[in-house]
Structures are given as C-alpha cells and as structure tokens.
Symmetry: C2
Subunit: 221 residues, 2 copies
C-alpha cells in the first residue's frame, strides 16, 4: 500500500547524505555528484526533488532544525515550566545544568556531529539557512537562558548585560565542538569516552553555575 514508493526514499537518502556532508564540510567543498553517489541515487534527482544544490542545502538546514527542536524540546520546555516560580538559586542551577548538558551533547553524540559545523559556518556568511537554524536552535536557547539568568540576577531578561552573559555561557558549551580538535590536542587524547563526557558535563555545569554566583557589576550601579 505504498502510495509513494521511491520518491520519498530518494529525498530521504539525499537528505541523509547531505546532512552528513554539509555537517562537516563547507558548501562549496561538497559536490552534487558526491552527494548523489553517497545517497545511491541519480545525479539529476537533486535538481528534480530540491531544485538544485542550494535547495537541498536549505532542506538539510530545515531537517537539522527540526531534529534539534525535537531534541531540545524536552529540556527547554521543562525548564520553561519551571523557572516561572523558581528562586534565583534554582535558576542558577538550571543554567549550569543546561550548559553542561549542551556541552557534553555537542561534544559527544550525533547531536553535535552536524549542528555546529553548519551553524558556525552560517555565522560567517549567513544565508537563508541561518534564519532557519537560529530560530530552531540558537534562538530558543538564547531566550530560555535570558529568562533564567534574568531571574537569577533579578533583572529583566532583555537587559543587555543579561544577553551578553547568556551568549558567553553558550560559548562555554559550543567551544567543546567548535574547538574540539584543539581540546583533543590540549588534553592529549584521541577521542572522548563516556567518562570524559560526564566529567566535562559536571565541570562545565559547575563553572557556569558559579559564574552567576556573584552579582554582576550592573547590580551595584
């Protein structure tokens, strides 16, 4: 009863191959022939189904955005339902937890393999894909962090200082993927095992939490 036998599968195969390729290499460094071969489909399928390489790229960004939204949904929505009547101390703890979790996820699993490559690359030369990825990933994290940190410091979430802090803390997590190679070298390792990830998650969480422990300069102005 397959109403669309191979049409959908061709699309999915191409998207999977594109996610793998665009996730770790630049747009221009990925060729359509390579994508078609990796996906096991004909070269012309890219133009046929996505209107061209760029269309496939955008579709990949959308796919990635949706997956991220699903992955982050439980974490973020739980936090969102919590912080409304949480104490500043609890908010601090939530921030640390979120940052630590983000760091180990980015470093460790499937989650982190593709996301930052695409996202960080989009920062340099933003295309339409940036909008897609910001709204599903950077944006929600920015927003939730802003709320939490605002509460932790008794300041409005849209305060400039709060936003700078939120961004800086995200950096604590992102660097574990963006600077992964440098970290491997710094820590003299060939890869990170489960124990490393747990350790890193704890350390980063504690670091982010204590970063908010002392009131910022804005408080005593």
């Amino acid at each position: 009863m397959t109403t669309r036998p191979s049409t959908q599968e061709t699309r999915e195969r191409l998207l999977a191959a594109a996610l793998e390729a665009f996730g770790q290499r630049d747009y221009d460094a990925v060729s359509t022939r390579e994508l078609a071969t990796a996906a096991g489909v004909n070269l012309a399928a890219i133009s046929y189904h996505f209107g061209g390489k760029h269309g496939l790229y955008l579709a990949t960004a959308r796919l990635l955005g949706e997956r991220m939204r699903a992955l982050l949904h439980e974490d973020l929505s739980w936090i969102r339902s919590t912080y409304a009547d949480a104490s500043p101390e609890e908010c601090r703890r939530l921030v640390g937890d979120l940052i630590g979790r983000l760091a180990s996820r980015l470093l460790g699993d499937e989650f982190g393999r593709h996301v930052p490559g695409l996202i960080i690359r989009e920062q340099g030369r933003p295309t339409e894909a940036f909008e897609i990825l910001y709204e599903t990933l950077f944006g929600p994290v920015h927003h939730v962090l802003g709320e939490l940190i605002g509460r932790a410091r008794n300041r409005p979430a849209d305060d400039d200082e709060i936003r700078v802090i939120a961004h800086a803390l995200i950096g604590q997590a992102v660097i574990f993927r963006a600077g992964r190679t440098a970290l491997l070298r710094y820590m003299d390792r060939e890869g990170f095992d489960e124990g490393d990830l747990v350790h890193i998650r704890r350390v980063v969480a504690a670091l982010a939490e204590s970063a908010l422990a002392t009131p910022g300069e804005g408080a005593q102005r």
Copy 2:
C-alpha cells in the same frame, strides 16, 4: 620609473588578499582568479611564488600565526612574568581580564576578523594549517590559562579539570566571534560600537572571574 611590483610586493599583495578571503570564506569557496584579481597580480603568480593555491593557504596561516603571536605576546608574556608569585585571587583576576580582552578583541578589531574563521574551520577538517595556528594561538592561550587557573584553584596546571575549565573559558571569548551573527540578532543590533565592546569586555571579564570564585568539585573530593 615604472614601478613594477617587485617579487616581494607580489607575495605580500597575494598574502593580504588571501588573508582577507580565507579569513571569511572557506578554502574551496575562494578561487585563485579572485585572489589574483584582488591582489592586482597575475594569476600565475600564485603557482610561481607559492607553488599553488594550497601553498598560499598555508603561507596565509603562517602569516596569521605570526601576527597573532605578536599581538598576544605582550599580554601573555606580561601575565607569564606575573603569575609565578601571584595569589589565587590575583590569578582569578588575570584570567577574567584575559578572557574579557580576548572577547572584545575577537569581536571588534582586525584581530578578530580573520582569525576565528580560519581557525574554527580548521577544527572541522584539520590540515597542516591547524598545527601552525594551534601552536601560535590556541596553544599559548591554553597554556597560560591552565597555569593561571591551576594557581587560582591550587591544583596542577595539567589537571584534566583545569584544562576543561580553561577550554570552557576560552569558549566564552571565542563565541563572540564564532557566534557574532547570532549575537547581533539576539541583541537586535546591526553592529557593535566601541561602547558595546567595552561593556562586553567588562561583563565577560567579571563572568569569567566569578566562575572561578567558588572552588570546583575536584577540590572537595
């Protein structure tokens, strides 16, 4: 007295154009013709002087590394000469100062325009250029931060936890370039002026400093 560009000038022009181009776009996204045109030299000069596009790329990485070394030299060597007999509190302050300075530099001036693009891109697919850049940039900062944080927490600088913390704090600075576009959007701005930079530098410095204020979990093990 027709001033034909001398040998050296041709090289320098190409390097300048390459730094500009490779600093913000991917290797494959930059064409040799574009570089030659931007530099105002003949296309064949790339092969003649650098042995090809890849040679020019590596030479660019070397040039960038040297400039970074010069830029960081005063900061780092001053710190190096200081921390030997500095108190943990002073070390904390030095860390905050360094991270804040790094953040505003990366975000603001010429320093930041080219570095992270090249470096972060090299993390995904490390080439020989990664070695060059790690040794002149990431490496020294890692090292100095490790020493400072180690002293601040009374632990050896080569401790795993210290290294994770050092890396995370670097992330606080790097994100201001790597995630610049997202930050602009988050803060609803079109660019950052001098006031923004000063503010960001202060906030990030205070954040990093207070992150080290509470003893890590390793201390009470």
